[in-house]
């Protein structure tokens, strides 16, 4: 049953990703004269934005525009969150937030992370949710898409990689918005609320008065799922019955998690004109994802250690699960959401069996098994460059990627990009695990508590946003540390790969011969797979052993 469920989700996502990529190409790289609505939109945009919105940019100008835009968005949302009690659309009278939490939340949503140290239904007004957070869910995903388009153009040899503002506009209005509308409608049909009225008050049979939070949930959930954002309208995220009421909504939202990241691979293939190469990359990502989903389902089919051997336990680990989805839906979602930098949850990861809990961690450590919208493939590009460099030498030539030589400058940038991720995860974990900042927040001792700290930093550094929970993390040190990490871990790994692409594009292309390392063969698939698995394992094996694996061994040994 769980197998059919996993295959159904992945199969649907793979099938839908292909036509979606065609649409994305139409949106991002239109060829020839567009007509009708499309033309109108572009003309309007050009009028509003002036020449800065259309002129071609090299990678440096593109990065500058991207950073500038995101800095502005960050500032705007800081203001919105700080002033929410003075702003409209606040039927439940939500008050002010603590400053470090405001910083953390703005950083979290600007960076497509959506790590939430608050509960939406308790802290956020509808205005903040829609015009602060949901707006960022759109443009942060669009930023990723734009960056990938620029990378692909650079790799296909163009020194002018496009215009960031125009790419952003196209990604937002022509890709994300239509998709989100479709998904939101499906969700409303599935029973997800969509209203601007304040919380409902109900009298229970026992006579108690209950306040039931609601709001424009369907719209929020749609882009949260599609844009690898993951920040829920409610605190419990997609475990909440209003975000994810039924098996049907669970299926639809589950499929929409990997959909855009998958389509990004095809888009990359189309822009660079190397579909076979893209197919190999896709296959490697899909294989890793399937292994992770399979492992998660497998580990979670065992009962929680506390129940092991007791007659009450008839199915897999049900702790922390929603009974309307069953035991398998949780780990499947958990694997998907962390593999793609989404970070929404439909069960509590803290309650997963220890080895199941390792799967989301691996997803965030690698961060390339489709990864975030746009940025997943950008991360993969770094692994590809490293793999190409080391294996490329083994064919007896200076390593080349897409016909251009990979030399010192590229390797310098690639290694920097590669090191940012482990630096934040290992550095943050080491710092908080050895000081009161972290120790005070941990609710469980030993290996499990260590995993909680490790998970939080992994989630921040991977711009994932899921929480292991069980961690009192709404404190100033946690908010500031993870806030800074999210910002740096978002933009450094976008800027450095674009710099590599710019450096490669400036080189003269070499024609490919039988002596050239081919990037579109299954053998090359093994090279990428090896470089991802090896680098990931070498960097994170020690902490994996000390966290989930030690916990598993300890629990199993009892």
């Amino acid at each position: 049953m769980s197998l059919i469920f996993s295959v159904l989700i992945l199969g649907l996502a793979v099938m839908l990703s292909w036509p979606l990529a065609k649409g994305m190409i139409w949106a991002m790289c239109p060829g020839g004269q567009a007509g009708g609505f499309r033309q109108g939109l572009e003309t309007l945009f050009q009028k509003v934005g002036g020449p800065a919105a259309v002129e071609g940019q090299d990678w440096k100008a593109y990065c500058r525009a991207m950073l500038l835009f995101n800095a502005c968005m960050f500032a705007v949302v800081l203001a919105v969150l700080s002033l929410q009690r003075f702003l409209p659309l606040n039927p439940d009278g939500k008050g002010a937030l603590e400053p470090s939490l405001i910083f953390h939340t703005a950083a979290s949503f600007t960076t497509n992370t959506n790590l939430q140290h608050y509960s939406g239904e308790v802290s956020m007004s509808y205005f903040s949710q829609i015009f602060g957070l949901m707006w960022l869910q759109f443009v942060s995903a669009a930023t990723g898409l734009a960056a990938l388009a620029a990378l692909a153009r650079g790799l296909s040899g163009k020194t002018e990689v496009g215009n960031f503002y125009r790419d952003l506009m196209r990604a937002t209005f022509l890709v994300l918005l239509p998709l989100a509308v479709v998904l939101a409608v499906l969700l409303v049909l599935g029973g997800v609320p969509m209203t601007l009225e304040g919380a409902a008050t109900a009298q229970t049979l026992e006579g108690a008065v209950q306040t039931i939070a609601r709001g424009p949930v369907a719209a929020f959930v749609a882009i949260k799922q599609l844009g690898t954002n993951g920040g829920g309208f409610f605190g419990p995220n997609s475990a909440h019955p209003f975000e994810n009421p039924s098996f049907f909504t669970n299926l639809v939202t589950c499929v929409s998690i990997p959909l855009l990241p998958m389509a990004c691979v095809w888009m990359f293939g189309r822009i660079t004109g190397r579909m076979r190469h893209a197919a190999i990359v896709f296959a490697v990502m899909a294989a890793l994802l399937m292994v992770k989903v399979g492992l998660a389902v497998h580990f979670e089919s065992a009962p929680a250690a506390a129940f092991a051997g007791l007659p009450v336990q008839v199915t897999g680990n049900l702790e922390g699960k929603e009974l309307r989805f069953g035991a398998a839906a949780g780990p499947v979602w958990g694997a998907l959401t962390t593999a793609t930098s989404n970070g929404s949850v439909n069960c509590m990861h803290d309650s997963l069996n220890p080895l199941t809990g390792l799967v989301p961690l691996i997803g965030m450590w690698l961060n390339v098994t489709f990864g975030g919208v746009g940025v997943g493939l950008i991360n993969m590009f770094i692994y590809i460059i490293v793999g190409v460099f080391i294996c490329g030498m083994m064919v007896g030539r200076t390593p080349e990627y897409m016909g251009r030589k990979v030399e010192t400058r590229e390797m310098k940038l690639a290694l920097l990009a590669l090191l940012v991720h482990p630096l934040f995860i290992l550095g943050g974990t080491a710092l908080f695990a050895s000081t009161s900042w972290g120790l005070a927040a941990v609710h469980n001792p030993g290996a499990h508590g260590f995993t909680e700290i490790l998970y939080e930093f992994s989630s921040a550094a991977a711009n994932n946003g899921s929480g292991f929970e069980g961690l009192g993390d709404n404190t100033v040190p946690w908010n500031v540390a993870t806030g800074i990490i999210m910002l740096l871990a978002r933009f450094i790994p976008i800027v450095l790969p674009l710099a590599i692409a710019g450096s490669l594009a400036a080189k003269k292309p070499t024609p490919e011969t039988v002596g050239t390392l081919r990037t579109d063969t299954p053998l090359f698939g093994w090279v990428i797979l090896g470089s991802v698995v090896f680098i990931g394992a070498l960097l994170f094996l020690p902490v994996a052993v000390l966290g989930p694996i030690a916990e598993h061994l300890a629990v199993a040994g009892k």
Binding site: V395, K412, A430, A433, P511, T513, L517, V527, L538
Partner: protein
């Protein structure tokens, strides 16, 4: 290349671990411990810093009488040995280069030179010669320095440099005017203009190069160093984070253990051997008798896409040979053969001899013999034909078609109509037609063909498998060139090639992003040699050609390009293979060290001790010892290079991934276990 030459080369190469070299390298390894010298190599520098730190811990342990002292001392010793092994590898490669240079240095002994002055000549030491000086060299004397023959011609023994004992002719003007210092004039007297002052001759430069005086990191070596430094930084983070994390688990990790883990993880294997690989590449080029002006050139050779090869001497044997008799209608082929043989008896050129040989093969015992008293008519530039007049009045002539027509008409003979067709047919096959006549009557045509070098097609097939395009350069007309190109199996040809054509062709290929290698000897080759990415000048060539190219082939062997490319490819492959091996090793080391580090705090981790290593300490020491001794074990691979086979990129990659990737994962599991068993047996732990 013939066998004798191979053997001579072999004799000049020292065996891998020759005693004297090992002793020199061993001493040098200690001298290289200076930290500022180590800083060039980030991986080994970190290892040395680690060794220094553990040494300090040793002192501390000693002063405080800690129990851990023997363990700390063991770790410290192994770390220092690791650093020394790395230095030894580099020093050994350097010593081998120096040994080669020393043999060459013998030829550079200071000699006396006779410098020509306005009024006569003076004797000076060869060290005092300047560029532009004119010296006289007589038979039996040694040429004092590199130069160009400006007057006269002489046979020169160049065996000191090329190992080839047959003397070569060097003469003023033309493309064989270059002479090398240290070679000996065997006959005649020549005047030489010195082209390289003291310390600047090719030998000097080569010696400087192999001795490392002007050694610079090549582009790929630099990129790899950056990559290795990045990986080192990553592992520094991993191990650095473990100390505070250890405290979370209530474990105070000892500094020597952390350093041991760090050194095991950072790519010390490739870090230690990287310099040796580069040096050995230069050394291999040198033992192929190729003098590269920089390590960069050798590395670049692996990237070459297109080879420009001269037809004569490279693709064909050089002299044309008679291959077939084409009699005119009504003439027996035996009669033609007989006449052609007779016409060639006096012709001692290889072409003439080949006609006689072909006739003998065809006619067997019926072949005519040379008869004394016959009058040989030699080839002259005016008549352009040759032949023989017998005392009995019969006469035979052979020559180019138009010359023979004129001759036959002069003898009042008639030209058969079929002759023109025959001549054209032979030309179309890529052969040169030679018309044969007996008296006034034309008998037929002998075809002289270029003979391909044996095995050249196979060689080109291998080049194609490596992804190289071969372009033949020839002065022949397009018809003949196309025919030969087809037979030899080259990808393209330049017919009726002038030096400008070569240059234009190279530029066109480069515009398409291809890298070109070519070989040349003449002054008019110089622009093309300079333009090509790899320009190999023949040592026999002119000074201009040698200056323009980035390599000089001391053997002046036109097929050497192929060897050079293989050396370049091998260099890169060796780097890639050892890097892969080095990183792949880390998996086993993790399985040895991580359980050992945390076994006390988290006893369940014993499950991960898959190798069943005896104790935590023996596990760490075994991993560290393996990490150290793998360096000398792999020195032969680094110096000899990974075996190169001419095959496509995919097959090469698959092969190397299996050997060095998979092998790199599996082998340390066995190695570490064996060392652990040995430590237990020796009672060390």
């Amino acid at each position: 290349m013939n066998r004798a030459k191979l053997e001579r080369r072999h004799a000049r190469r020292a065996s891998l671990f020759e005693k004297s070299l090992v002793a020199t390298a061993g001493k040098q390894a200690f001298a290289m411990l200076k930290p500022w010298a180590m800083a060039r190599n980030p991986v080994m520098f970190i290892t040395e810093v680690g060794a220094l730190l553990t040494t300090l811990v040793c002192v501390q342990d000693l002063l405080r009488h800690r129990e851990a002292l023997p363990y700390t001392v063991s770790v410290t010793v192994i770390l220092w040995v690791t650093v020394l092994f790395a230095n030894f590898a580099e020093a050994l490669a350097e010593a081998r280069g120096k040994a080669q240079a020393d043999t060459l240095k013998h030829t550079r002994r200071a000699t006396l030179a006779r410098r020509a002055l306005a009024g006569g000549e003076e004797l000076v030491n060869s060290d005092e010669l300047r560029e532009g000086d004119i010296v006289l060299v007589n038979a039996g004397e040694i040429i004092p320095s590199d130069g160009e023959v400006v007057e006269g011609a002489a046979s020169v023994d160049e065996s000191a440099i090329t190992g080839e004992s047959a003397p070569v002719v060097r003469e003023a003007g033309g493309d064989r005017s270059g002479v090398t210092g240290g070679t000996r004039v065997l006959s005649d007297q020549i005047k030489i203009r010195i082209t390289a002052g003291a310390g600047e001759s090719f030998l000097d430069r080569m010696i400087a190069l192999v001795e490392g005086a002007v050694r610079q990191k090549t582009p790929n070596e630099l990129a790899l160093t950056v990559t290795l430094a990045g990986l080192t930084l990553a592992f520094l983070m991993v191990t650095g984070a473990l100390w505070p994390i250890g405290r979370y688990f209530g474990v105070e990790l000892p500094i020597p253990t952390l350093i041991a883990l760090l050194v095991c993880l950072i790519p010390t294997t490739i870090g230690a051997l990287l310099a040796a690989i580069g040096l050995a590449g230069m050394d291999r080029a040198l033992s192929a008798n190729v003098l590269a002006k920089s390590g960069k050139a050798v590395e670049l050779a692996g990237d070459i896409d297109t080879l420009l090869l001269d037809k004569t001497g490279t693709i064909t044997i050089g002299d044309r040979q008679a291959t077939e008799f084409h009699p005119l209608p009504g003439v027996g082929s035996e009669r033609l053969a007989e006449a052609a043989m007779c016409a060639s008896f006096g012709d001692l050129t290889p072409e003439g001899k080949s006609i006689v040989k072909l006739g003998e093969r065809m006619l067997g015992s019926k072949a005519p013999r040379e008869t004394p008293g016959a009058k040989v008519i030699p080839f002259t530039a005016q008549s352009r034909l040759s032949g023989i007049d017998y005392p009995d009045g019969s006469s035979f002539r052979k020559g180019a078609s138009d010359a023979m027509r004129a001759y036959v008409r002069a003898q009042c003979g008639s030209i058969p109509d079929a002759l023109q067709g025959l001549v054209d047919a032979v030309a179309r096959q890529g052969s040169t037609p030679i018309v044969v006549a007996e008296g006034p009557s034309v008998l037929g045509v002998v075809a002289l063909s270029d003979i391909l070098k044996p095995g050249i097609q196979d060689r080109f097939e291998r080049l194609r498998a490596m992804g190289l395009r071969v372009v033949m350069v020839t002065g022949d007309n397009p018809l003949t060139a196309a025919a030969i190109a087809g037979q030899a199996g080259v990808d393209d040809f330049i017919a009726e090639a002038k030096p400008e054509d070569k240059l234009e062709y190279i530029r066109r290929e480069q515009r398409a992003g291809r890298l070109i290698a070519m070989m040349g000897d003449g002054t008019n080759d110089a622009p093309a040699l300079a333009q090509a990415d790899i320009g190999v000048a023949m040592n026999s060539g002119t000074q201009a050609a040698k200056e323009a190219g980035n390599m000089v082939d001391l053997d002046s062997d036109p097929t050497k390009l192929i060897e050079i490319i293989e050396v370049g490819k091998q260099l890169l492959m060796t780097r890639g293979a050892l890097t892969t091996f080095s990183i792949a090793n880390d998996v086993a080391k993790y399985f040895a060290i991580i359980p050992a580090m945390f076994m006390l705090a988290i006893p369940q981790l014993a499950v991960l001790n898959v190798m069943r290593l005896a104790t935590p300490q023996s596990a760490i020491l075994s991993a560290l010892i393996f990490n150290a001794i793998i360096i000398p074990v792999l020195i032969p691979v680094a110096i000899k290079g990974v075996k190169y086979r001419p095959m496509g990129a995919d097959s090469l990659l698959r092969r190397n991934l299996l050997i060095y990737g998979l092998g790199g994962i599996v082998s340390p599991f066995f190695g570490i276990k064996l060392i652990d068993m040995a430590l237990v047996m020796a009672g060390v732990v």
